[in-house]
Subunit: 143 residues, 2 copies
């Protein structure tokens, strides 16, 4: 890996990620968000570093942190939801800020076995369900 | 991360990955394959460890190697093909053996801006084009 630099010290979450998600936890490098779509347990990790588009834009120390936090999220999703499969994706074709999807998939979910993106309309959580879900995830991630 | 074990010492490539791809390079942990679909420059990394389904099944030392090799592949794809975006995916809904897609995306490709999976029929390479593409990739990955 070659030496990397970031264009500034200021990180701002992309407004689409801000509006589509609910905050779960701030880890050492990534902010963890819950996608507001109750069709699937769906986390999004956003490394809090400015100007990132691709995974290889991360400095080595941040790549290490991000990978560790991604594994932590994947294990939390496995332990809490017991999915049939976990899907991880870094796409960014529509939202260019680097973000990592971690999605619990079930053979009975509405998109199985296809990837979730664009398959069925978003189904926002009912307010009463958000606190419990975020609490479970936060407990697993911050323990 | 907790301690991990693998179920055996014997690794066999899943037959669907074997039949759909062309070998590019063996790195320290992952074998790198070229998806035989000329619609997109599309690599697949397969950690050569038995019994893996999820990213978090990798032992920490293999996770570190796999991440480094993923970044190396992403940088190679960027340098060789100058894509508009790189898509990375770990799905496994249909092929359960852990494998990582690294796909060069262009705003003019046949699936843009959607993820590539299931969008358009596979378009195998013409034989004369395979050696050049594999040679370019191998040169970048083994340098």
């Amino acid at each position: 890996m070659i030496s990397k630099t970031y264009p500034s010290d200021v990180f701002d979450l992309h407004p689409i990620l801000e509006s589509d998600t609910i905050g779960v936890a701030q880890l050492d490098c990534c902010k963890v968000l819950l996608m507001n779509d109750s069709n699937y347990p769906w986390l999004i990790l956003v490394p809090q570093r400015p100007g990132l588009r691709e995974l290889h834009d991360l400095k080595p120390e941040d790549l290490y942190l991000t990978t560790s936090e991604l594994v932590k999220c994947s294990e939390a999703v496995e332990n809490i939801f017991s999915p049939d499969k976990i899907n991880i994706g870094l796409l960014g074709n529509q939202v260019p800020q680097l973000h990592i999807h971690v999605i619990a998939r079930f053979t009975v979910d509405p998109a199985w076995p296809k990837p979730v993106w664009g398959q069925v309309p978003v189904l926002p959580y009912m307010t009463k369900d958000i606190d419990e879900r975020v609490g479970l995830l936060r407990g697993a991630l911050l323990s």
